[in-house]
């Protein structure tokens, strides 16, 4: 039998719970620092404006294009390569008169170079009001997802576990966003989708561990809470690792083969799934333990006799 884990002894994960918490706190502090100082590189979906993707027949010099745009009176455009050295992405801030088509055509005319013709591949324009709406929708979606999950896990398991789960999800989302702000990847609507997927995925891991925890609590009476958690995590570890591995493999395939348009999406998933695996082991469980989860909490609720808490009448 080919196995990742040969151990039959539970690994004492929870010994490192403190260290992990400190590590996570430091990470989250760094992420917040980055989010507050650098901010996020909001994509077109949220800021509004115009993006034109142009493909040249040979690779081009970006500085030259910038000069050409300046000369055409389209100053202040950001110019970057997109995927290959022949593909160029030009971004213009939203401006007063809304004729995008002219703006787009103007860009195409401005960047034409002798003996290196350019072809328009994509033109996107988002009005500023729409951008605000999309941003609200995105934030709302993430909050709604967290709340629904809290409610579901609270009902199915127990509130301490539910808050542990939600903490670990928030942890993953913050870290993913932090990394995004650190390396200034553009945040657009697909990133919101990726974040929600990360939430779903990370939760999946957490639930598998919690399921085991509940089972062990109900089965074994004598051991300590810490031991129960250690056993549950050890028992599910090989599954956690395998699933993370297969998911990471397909995400890497997306990252590598999926083209420039879903690069950001794949990056968000890579970070999210990596940290999601770690957080479902440490953050979720450690948090639930800190809140003092005990065996009694896992048992099916006892039905009290009505009036049992009142003194008998004499």
């Amino acid at each position: 039998m080919f196995e990742i884990l040969k151990t039959r002894e539970p690994i004492r994960f929870m010994r490192h719970a403190k260290a992990a918490s400190v590590f996570s706190l430091v990470l989250i502090a760094l992420c917040f620092y980055s989010l507050f100082t650098k901010g996020l590189n909001w994509g077109l979906d949220f800021t509004g404006g115009t993006v034109v993707e142009v493909e040249f027949s040979q690779s081009v010099d970006l500085d030259e294009i910038r000069q050409q745009l300046d000369a055409a009176g389209l100053a202040g455009a950001t110019v970057q390569n997109f995927g290959t050295s022949r593909d160029v992405l030009i971004r213009l801030a939203p401006h007063a008169d809304g004729d995008v088509q002219q703006q787009g055509d103007g860009v195409l005319v401005a960047v034409q170079q002798a003996n290196n013709p350019a072809e328009m591949k994509r033109l996107e324009f988002v009005g500023p009001a729409i951008g605000k709406e999309l941003a609200e929708q995105g934030g709302l979606a993430i909050l709604a997802a967290l709340l629904c999950i809290m409610a579901y896990v609270g009902l199915r398991f127990e509130w301490r576990l539910a808050s542990g789960a939600v903490m670990s999800l928030a942890h993953d989302v913050i870290i993913t966003l932090g990394v995004f702000s650190w390396i200034q990847i553009e945040v657009d609507l697909t990133i919101v989708a990726a974040l929600l997927t990360v939430i779903g995925y990370s939760l999946n891991d957490t639930i598998v561990v919690f399921d085991r925890v509940r089972e062990s609590f109900r089965r074994v009476r004598t051991v300590s809470t810490v031991q129960v958690f250690n056993e549950a995590i050890t028992d599910t570890l090989s599954r956690t690792l395998i699933t993370s591995l297969t998911t990471l493999v397909v995400v890497i395939a997306l990252f590598w083969k999926g083209g420039a348009l879903i690069h950001g999406f794949a990056t968000a998933l890579l970070i999210g799934i990596g940290f999601g695996t770690y957080s479902s082991i440490y953050i979720a469980s450690a948090w639930a333990m800190m809140l003092g989860v005990k065996r009694e909490h896992m048992l099916p609720p006892q039905i009290e006799k009505e009036g049992a808490d009142q003194d008998p009448l004499s």
Binding site: F2, E3, R8, G48, E55, D97, G98, V100, Q101, G104, D105, E119, K121, R122, L123, E124, F125, V126, G127, P128, K132, Q137, A144, A145, I149, Y152, V153, L189, T190, V192, A193, L196, T197, G200, Y201, L203, N204, I207, D211, T236, R239, T243, L245, T246, T247, L248, V249, V250, V251, I252, A253, L254, W256, K257, G258, G259, L261, I262, F265, A266
Partner: protein, 617 residues
């Protein structure tokens, strides 16, 4: 006996996979270059047209695969795109103005599959190229117009009833009518209240002026906005049809927005010109009493306003609108018997009777056609969107020769080109409220192809890696999981092809790729459990049974939460995000089915009920 399925369960699994495969099959057949012919403005496409088209193409030695009439459209399939382009030119020339010819890619699904309603996946714009517009209707302007109309109506009504008023004006979202005495005010109030049930009336007195104030009730306000949106959707639909796009989509989004998608269109500039021409038309009387020179100097009579014609000459028009462009059903340019250009106009029934009523008293007077365009200016609204400004111009002045009915003509036009232009503007309908493009996304066709390739490559590589890993790690059971994985893929594509309105987008493909990675999770959970049970010294059959049983709850719990997030995404997201959410939802459900029921069926079939001492897991 442990681990034996009843026959019906085996049949169910086979049935689900087989049906999915049938519906996924059309995606394997590719597409034919085709030509789609449809009639404009209610013109029927008849079998006569079909025969004519076939003859014309045969005469030009262009071979066609097939030509057929389907729901009032003619679809001609060609062998290759060269024939298609040549064919389009010939057919467009042959059929003339009353038909629209559009290039299209028609799915080459065999007829026996079409018979069960199977067709290939619909591809989103990011995969096939095209334009997506999001347009916003300017509701303030729509309400303003209703308000203007109401002021006119009040005046007419009160005059008819001989109720003297000293003024009617717009005030804070309503209309204020001012009277000199309370008695007349009260009579007017009770009269108007009965006449306009959609309005809320109140008294407003100040000093020795007695006023009545009318605003729209909430209900009426909703109706007006709804009507404005619906009207605009209809008009945009007509305009899109004029463009000749194969499968356009015009859909409302929310309270005041319209989504327009034009797949495969190259000439976006023209599309925008036609869609975005937020033009309206009005017929009004010329104020002959007014002194044009004085008006030009700023002294305009109270119920008139000053406008300019195309040559920038001043014209004084009565404020009262005889008729707006929304009543125009059709218009065309032609020559009269003296070969002078003219424009023929047909009105709908209410428009016709209004025109008739009005013109019978005004024969010999001059009627002007006013063309109003809304353009985005440099000024900004508070929310940062560009402000619209109104540009009005008198495009034609004609003398009313006789009482006009539902169809009449405008003569005295300078040139045929002018007549054609005017008739196009009249025909395209008048938008009841100006419209602004608030979002636009254009994807070139080459990018679409590239996106599909990228998506499929990512899917193949990801799948290959997962399949190899599972086979090595879980040996024979891994192979079972791989069969389930393929079945899963077939189910996703089959269901996506089945669901009407589901479109495949690039994020959708990403969703499938992700599902492949995550769907083995259920199997991993089960197999790990079985291994555990074996390690704990259970018999083989027991281990399989208990493993599946114990994993079930965990799988359900962990998948339901992912499903919750996917459903939230679907509810909140638009466009590509929705596409991603749909594939994720279908993927999760399919992976639960294949992992729990599907693999179990195979395992039971191969290992169930046998005396085994070892298991290849």
């Amino acid at each position: 006996m442990l681990n034996r399925y009843p026959l019906w369960k085996y049949l169910m699994v086979i049935f689900v996979v087989a049906i999915s495969f049938l519906y996924a099959a059309p995606n394997l057949f590719g597409e034919d270059p085709a030509l789609q012919v449809s009639g404009t403005r209610g013109t029927q496409v008849t079998s006569e047209i079909l025969v004519k088209t076939q003859q014309r193409l045969a005469a030009a030695d262009i071979e066609i695969k097939s030509a057929a009439l389907e729901d009032n459209q003619l679809l001609v399939r060609f062998r290759d795109t060269d024939d298609q382009l040549k064919g389009k030119e010939l057919v467009a020339e042959l059929l003339g103005d009353n038909y629209i010819t559009a290039l299209n890619l028609a799915p080459a699904t065999p007829s026996w599959l079409q018979a069960i309603g199977a067709g290939p996946l619909k591809l989103g714009l990011d995969l096939r190229g095209g334009v997506h517009f999001l347009m916003e209707v300017d509701m303030d302007e729509a309400l303003n117009r209703v308000q203007e109309q109401r002021i006119q109506d009040f005046r007419t009504d009160l005059r008819e009833k001989r109720l003297r008023y000293s003024g009617v004006l717009s005030k804070d979202d309503g209309t204020l009518v001012v009277f000199r005495d309370a008695d007349t005010r009260n009579q007017s109030l009770s009269y108007l209240r009965d006449r306009y049930p959609g309005l809320v009336f109140s008294e407003r007195d100040s000093g020795d002026n007695f006023g009545l104030f009318a605003t729209m009730s909430e209900q009426r306000l909703k109706e007006v906005k709804e009507y404005a949106l619906q009207q605009n959707i209809t008009i945009i639909r007509n305009r899109v049809n004029e463009l000749g796009v194969a499968e356009p989509l015009v859909q409302r989004q929310g309270a005041d927005r319209i989504v327009v998608q034009l797949p495969g269109i190259q000439d976006t500039a023209r599309a925008k010109e036609i869609l975005g021409a937020t033009a309206t038309l009005e017929f009004r009387l010329i104020d002959e009493k007014a002194d044009v020179a004085a008006a030009d100097a700023g002294r305009v009579p109270a119920n008139s306003e000053l406008m300019r014609d195309r040559n920038n000459r001043p014209v004084v028009l009565q404020k009262r609108v005889i008729l707006t462009g929304e009543h125009i059903v059709d218009s065309s340019a032609s020559m009269d018997e003296f070969s002078r250009p003219q424009v023929n106009i047909s009105l709908d029934a209410p428009g016709g009777s209004r025109m008739a009523d009005f013109t019978k008293d005004n024969v010999g007077r001059s009627m002007a056609t006013v063309f109003t365009e809304y353009k985005t200016g440099d000024e900004k609204n508070e929310d940062g969107s560009s402000q619209l400004y109104k540009q009005q111009e008198v495009i034609n002045i004609a003398t009313i020769q006789s009482r006009l009915g539902r169809s009449f003509r405008i003569t005295g036009i300078d040139s045929m080109a002018e007549a054609q232009n005017l008739s196009l503007l009249l025909r395209a309908g008048a938008l009841i409220a100006p419209i602004q493009i608030v979002e636009e996304r254009t994807i070139g066709p080459s990018l679409g192809k590239q996106n599909i390739e990228n998506g499929i490559m990512a899917m193949l590589y990801g799948m290959l890696a997962v399949v190899i890993f599972m086979a090595i790690y879980y040996r024979k059971f891994g192979l079972v999981a791989n069969v389930a994985l393929f079945a899963n893929l077939v189910i996703i594509i089959g269901v996506m092809s089945m669901v009407p309105g589901a479109t495949m987008t690039l994020p959708g493909i990403a969703g499938i790729v992700l599902t492949i990675g995550m769907s083995v999770d259920a199997n991993v959970l089960i197999f790990e459990r079985i291994r555990e049970e074996l390690r704990d010294g259970r018999g083989v059959q027991q281990a399989i049974h208990v493993g599946y049983d114990k994993a079930l709850g965990t799988i359900a719990d962990s998948n339901i939460t992912t499903l919750i997030t996917a459903i939230i995404l679907f509810a909140i997201g638009t466009g590509p995000i929705k596409g991603f959410a749909i594939t994720l939802i279908i993927g999760i459900l399919a992976s639960m089915f294949t992992a729990i029921v599907g693999t179990r069926a195979i395992v039971n079939l191969l290992w169930g009920g046998k005396r085994l001492s070892k298991l290849s897991i």
